[in-house]
């Protein structure tokens, strides 16, 4: 066997620490020439045992702990956890609190999506667009800092309602911020729709069919980019979503570009939702008057986090600490879909395809 014959296939490592990956994950990639033949994903580099820790903290302390599982979807974790607590205790939160939960969630969604499409530009080498997207995102970071006092962990949720309120001044401020954001997002959408560099690197790359998406149980923008119109806000409404009109954009091509465009469209939909909330925000209390007792029981909670359906299971036995808290983040099933997306892809596109599922490793491994 000559050296040339032997060198037809290789196995290359990508990660766990790699310039193009934002978080540690190890990909064991079989390649033939420049083409990926198969991928094995090896996880566990940021496993912290948070699930175990939740059973050592009180039910109320876990509202704070769950917010620290992840940064970009930090608000979705306590939001879903408190929904499960409220279900066990049979609590109905005030309508104003339900609207304020939507406001917090949509602000976080816009900031998360802008970050992801910015990284796509960065990975295509178009750093000017990356910095521009991050500059636009800064409007939402300022909104978070002004409304909640923090730029990432906003601490908005509590069992029985929310921990913040919007007075007339804050409503005017948020409305003005949205007026500033909307034309910027429209401009970004136009660039992602037409720009040659973006299109050349993302159109037809990292394909996932609808059948594969169903098979892998994918959720969120990854599923909606290949025609699966599932959105928890519409299919299983919570908070005030049953009072609001939620626009769920879908595309059919299932490539990197479609996933990015779903996120771009969702930013527009979130801006509209925020405006609707500001218009309809009812008067009343923002939380139940007393800290409620959580009796023994079990409940499921789910919400539409920026990356898709987030599921919580809570089992209590009347003690201060929960018996079990278990959650499944949207990235968890979406990793599996990467195997299909990466097969047949070029080595140079691996990072772009991995970023297109908007992966969250610290969420996945807990």
């Amino acid at each position: 066997m000559t050296a040339i014959e032997a060198a037809k296939t290789y196995t290359i490592p990508v990660g766990p620490l790699h310039v193009a990956l934002e978080e540690p994950m190890y990909f064991h990639v079989d390649i033939e020439g420049e083409t990926v033949r198969d991928v094995d994903i090896r996880a566990g580099h940021v496993h912290r045992g948070v699930e175990y820790l939740t059973t050592k903290r009180s039910i109320y302390q876990n509202v704070v702990l769950t917010e620290r599982i992840c940064a970009l979807c930090s608000n979705s974790h306590p939001e879903t956890y408190v929904m499960a607590c409220e279900q066990i205790a049979g609590l109905e939160i005030p309508l104003r609190a339900a609207y304020l939960r939507v406001v917090a969630a949509e602000i976080k969604r816009i900031a998360s999506h802008l970050f992801n499409i910015g990284i796509l530009a960065h990975l295509t080498g178009y750093d000017t667009l990356f910095m521009y997207a991050m500059q636009v995102r800064e409007i939402m970071q300022d909104v978070k800092e002004t409304l909640f006092g923090n730029r990432m962990d906003i601490g908005a949720m509590c069992i029985g309602g929310v921990r913040y309120d919007l007075d007339a001044e804050m409503k005017t401020y948020l409305s003005a911020a949205l007026d500033k954001l909307a034309p910027e997002v429209a401009g970004l959408a136009d660039t992602y729709r037409r720009n040659h560099t973006i299109l050349r690197r993302s159109r037809g790359v990292g394909l996932l069919t609808k059948e594969q998406a169903i098979d892998c149980a994918t959720v969120g923008p990854v599923a909606r980019a290949c025609g699966l119109a599932y959105d928890v806000r519409v299919d299983a409404p919570y908070a005030a979503y049953d009072h609001l009109k939620v626009d769920v954009p879908t595309l059919v091509d299932g490539d990197v570009w479609s996933r990015a465009m779903i996120r771009v469209s969702e930013i527009g939909a979130s801006i509209q939702l925020l405006r609707d909330c500001l218009r309809d925000l009812p008067d009343g209390p923002t939380r139940l008057p007393d800290r409620p007792d959580i009796p023994a029981g079990r409940a499921m909670g789910k919400c539409e986090a920026p990356r898709g359906e987030l599921v919580y299971f809570l089992k209590t036995n009347g003690a201060d600490e929960p018996e079990r808290v278990k959650w499944r983040v949207p990235s968890f099933p979406n990793w599996d879909a990467l195997r299909f997306m990466l097969r047949g892809a070029k080595i140079a596109d691996i990072a772009i395809i991995v970023n297109s599922i908007d992966p969250c490793v610290s969420c996945t491994e807990r």
Binding site: G44, D242, M300, K315, D336
Partner: protein, 203 residues
């Protein structure tokens, strides 16, 4: 997407000859169903039935329900110890003892927006069939359960460790882990020796 059918209880009962315990709640129009299985041998048949309905496996939770705490007894000096009745260990409706060592496995399915959780119990040392051949999404959760507990998932196509390194002991969630170890704050003997050496000898 199809939601949880109205006759789901009878469909579950037909698929699980061992018997089921079904209850459900509805919040904001979303149904959350709970289906306990008397026999964990019925899990595969129920899985097949739900697969045909188009259900998506969203998550699998594993836990070891703690044994009920012993009630404090009157410590009368004159009480006859020999006459103390033997404590009966409570059981699930299917007969699995709730002794703090049995496992409860909750398979959370989503149909449309509705939830259906199928609950199977396994006594200590037992095993459960894998759902991965039916639901691809069961692969990672089952591997995670195998590394956290000493529970065997039968016929799993790829039973490797998922998050924990093979060097880490098995069944971490069945052991008491001191808080100092958990937060990695325990200091080693080597560190202590170094401190003493820096101070100019241990004597």
């Amino acid at each position: 997407m199809t939601r949880l059918p109205a006759d789901i209880q009878s469909q579950l009962a037909a698929a699980a000859p061992g018997g089921v315990e079904y209850s459900s709640t509805t919040t904001q129009g979303v149904v959350t169903g709970w289906c306990g299985l008397a026999s964990n041998e019925d899990l595969l048949a129920v899985g097949k039935m739900l697969h045909q309905l188009g259900a998506r496996l969203a998550m699998i939770s594993a836990l070891q329900p703690p044994a009920p705490e012993e009630e404090e007894e009157d410590s009368d000096e004159g009480a006859n110890d020999a006459a103390k009745p033997v404590k009966e260990i409570p059981k699930t409706f299917g007969g699995t003892p709730i002794d703090g060592k049995s496992y409860e496995l909750d398979y959370h399915f989503v149909l449309g927006g509705d939830f259906l959780t199928v609950i199977a119990y396994v006594p200590a040392g037992g095993s459960i069939p894998s759902l991965t051949p039916l639901f691809r999404a069961a692969d990672w959760p089952e591997r995670e359960i195998m590394e956290n507990y000493s529970l065997i998932v039968r016929d799993h196509p790829d039973p490797r460790r998922l998050f924990l390194d093979p060097a880490i002991d098995a069944a971490v969630l069945e052991r008491l882990i001191p808080f100092s170890t958990l937060v990695n704050a325990a200091s080693t003997k080597a560190l202590w020796d170094k401190v003493l050496a820096a101070k100019g000898g241990a004597s």
